[in-house]
């Protein structure tokens, strides 16, 4: 496929840059806050992979649904979950998008149809099948986008979900974030077939490999795929080749990869790559940085000011407090 790139206006490039910067700076702040023990538990950074979430989200409409992984700050922010509510979540506050019960790995926001935040590798894929099935049965033109890592492709749930979605021609966009490692396991040590689009195509669904460091390419591929899906084309698969610049989580000494390899990939930083297109000038970028910085300061302040759930409310939300929706 050579997806037709949408006409890239300065305005739009500015927007993409803004979104990627929001994620990058947000996570950089998270690292500090983790060191300061404001954030706890597992924290998985998306640094380096921002173009994937930003590009795909651009292709979605408000009614569409999103299912993500435990590395989902970027997806949540790009989808429109507010930085304050994401930060408050990681602070464990009631004002967090999951009331502080989920933490970094379980961001939820039903208002933007953001269905988590799933920390079981491949565990979200069947749910995406179901969301798409519901949309199809209800005759609604809704697309469900589901993100997962290349490591997830070895799991049985990947296989079952691909097959079901293709068999039933469900409106799902499968977004494989191929960052070449599952924790410390390199792709070639986990998959007998390392061409992931070929693998996906064996389910009889259209599958494309995309440069996941190029937000414009991601947006174009996702837009084409979403259009096709919305028009009844059944599930589509995108392999988005990307790289995480940071460790898997806060406890990873990165024994399994070369520093040089990381450095090489950093040359393809999605933020500098978009910059290099020359559509956004230096002063605009300075403006964006300032806006992002203010947004994150406000998010941290919001999180700090948030409240802790009372112990008396410990057992809430195990069952619903309202009747059937």
């Amino acid at each position: 496929m050579s997806p037709v790139e949408p006409m890239m206006t300065t305005e739009h490039a500015r927007h993409l840059q803004h979104q990627m910067l929001r994620i990058r700076r947000f996570e950089e702040r998270c690292v500090e806050l983790y060191s300061a023990a404001k954030i706890r538990g597992f924290l998985h950074l998306y640094v380096g992979e921002e173009a994937v979430a930003v590009g795909v989200m651009e292709a979605l409409a408000a009614q569409d649904a999103v299912v993500a992984t435990y590395r989902e700050h970027g997806h949540a922010l790009a989808r429109g979950v507010s930085a304050g509510s994401v930060m408050a979540e990681m602070f464990g506050k009631v004002e967090g998008c999951s009331r502080g019960r989920g933490g970094s790995m379980h961001l939820f926001d039903v208002a933007t149809r953001f269905y988590g935040g799933n920390a079981i590798v491949a565990g979200g894929l069947p749910i995406a099948v179901g969301l798409a099935l519901a949309a199809k049965m209800q005759g609604q033109p809704i697309v469900t986008a589901c993100f997962f890592g290349e490591g997830a492709m070895a799991e049985g749930e990947f296989h079952e979900s691909m097959n079901l979605s293709a068999l039933w021609r469900l409106p799902v966009l499968w977004c494989c974030e191929n960052n070449f490692y599952a924790m410390g396991t390199a792709l070639a040590r986990s998959e007998s077939e390392t061409n992931l689009a070929v693998k996906a195509a064996s389910y009889e669904m259209p599958a494309w490999t995309v440069d996941g460091m190029d937000v414009v390419a991601v947006e174009a591929a996702a837009t084409n795929a979403v259009d096709a899906i919305r028009n009844g084309g059944g599930p589509h698969f995108l392999e988005l080749r990307t790289y995480r610049f940071r460790a898997h989580s806060m406890y990873d000494p990165e024994r399994y990869r070369d520093k040089a390899e990381v450095e090489r990939w950093k040359e393809r930083d999605p933020i500098t790559m978009l910059e290099a297109r020359g559509l956004v000038d230096a002063s605009t970028i300075a403006e964006l940085e300032a806006a992002v910085s203010a947004e994150i300061d406000a998010a941290v302040a919001f999180a700090e000011a948030g409240s802790l759930e009372r112990i008396e409310d410990l057992t809430r939300f195990v069952v619903s407090e309202v009747g059937a929706p």
Binding site: A65, C97, M137, E157, L164
Partner: protein, 339 residues
């Protein structure tokens, strides 16, 4: 009208499909085949392949799809052909169905109903004879039902579908052919309480599902011996209806639990522990348990029968709890027999 447990289950499914267009049934061979135990026979023809939806053999994905479809506004009834295969979908049930509401801080409701056939007794051997309902009863966020009567076979599904949260229904395979009378307009039944299926004064027998009828038979035989046994059908295994249990034990002062699960860590253990905690001072004897032998269920008929709870074992357990403390000196019990 005269009906069977199987037909009552089918009537419940049909009611649901007629009543609410968001409802659909999904599972392996629920459609063209007519249901592996003929429960859904005819529904495919009546409601079509969209609403009576055959799935490939992929338990994890189609249970997960049921969860997703529930979140997406549908009211799926997912059939896991038998509880034995439910292990393949367990991650979806435990980590998603039971957990999403809480993890999302109350946002993400999962109104899915998962039905499955449970139990042994048909010489299907070790991989096809599990009773895992007790395991599921361990999981916060799930409601676990075990219909043992025609009313419940038909009516529990209706009530379950009204829940905004996931409900699992365990239908016992050995009951499918059980027949009896059921009102034509039988409908929803409440699912919050256990039911006293037989009143008695000497001992409380607590059970559910497939062993209810064996327990009632034992109670009948005990009556002939002059022992008046009360029989409680738990109906809902999570949450347990402690009040009904304790009220009964408070009257009879003795209890035996009958449970087709393996003894260690079964539903029976939890009930015994709760009686310990809530009615210890009411007890005239330790609570007894009749469970399945702790072995993978063997194929050979005589071995399978010996492994499962049977009427004589229930009666023996009752004799045991009655035999103890037949005399009491200064509150110090005298043991008639121990085990």
């Amino acid at each position: 009208m005269k009906t069977t447990y199987r037909e009552a289950l089918r009537a419940g499914l049909r009611d649901a499909l007629l009543r609410d267009e968001r409802v659909f049934l999904m599972g392996e061979d629920v459609g063209a085949y007519g249901g592996c135990f003929a429960v859904s026979l005819g529904l495919f023809e009546e409601f079509g392949p969209e609403r009576v939806r055959d799935t490939p053999l992929s338990e994890s994905a189609f249970v997960g799809a049921g969860i997703g479809a529930a979140i997406g506004g549908m009211r799926p009834i997912v059939e896991l052909m038998t509880v034995n295969f439910s292990l393949l979908a367990l991650d979806q049930i435990v980590n998603n169905a039971a957990t999403l509401l809480h993890m999302s801080g109350g946002q993400c409701h999962v109104p899915v109903v998962i039905r499955t056939t449970t139990g042994a007794g048909r010489q299907l051997a070790a991989q096809h004879s599990h009773s895992f309902e007790g395991w599921y009863a361990h999981i916060p966020g799930l409601r676990v039902l075990a219909p043992a009567t025609l009313e419940d076979a038909r009516g529990m599904l209706w009530t379950a579908l009204q829940s905004p949260d996931p409900v699992m229904i365990f239908e016992h395979g050995a009951l499918l052919g059980m027949d009896g009378e059921l009102a034509d307009d039988a409908g929803a039944v409440e699912i919050d309480h256990a039911a006293i299926r037989r009143s008695g004064t000497d001992v409380t027998l607590i059970t559910y599902g497939g062993t209810l009828h064996k327990t009632l038979a034992a109670a009948e035989a005990l009556a002939a011996e002059g022992v008046s046994a009360e029989v409680i059908d738990l109906r809902t295994l999570r949450p347990l209806d402690d009040a009904t249990i304790m009220e009964s034990v408070g009257r009879t002062h003795r209890a035996v639990i009958v449970d087709e699960g393996w003894r260690s860590g079964s539903v029976s253990a939890e009930i015994s522990a709760r009686i310990m905690e809530q009615a210890f001072y009411e007890l005239d004897a330790p609570v007894g348990r009749v469970c399945t032998a702790e072995i993978p269920i063997p194929y050979a008929k005589q071995l399978e029968e010996a492994a499962l709870p049977q009427v004589p074992a229930i009666m023996a357990a009752v004799h045991d709890v009655l035999g103890r403390m037949s005399t009491s000196v200064d509150g110090v019990p005298v043991l008639a027999e121990t085990h």
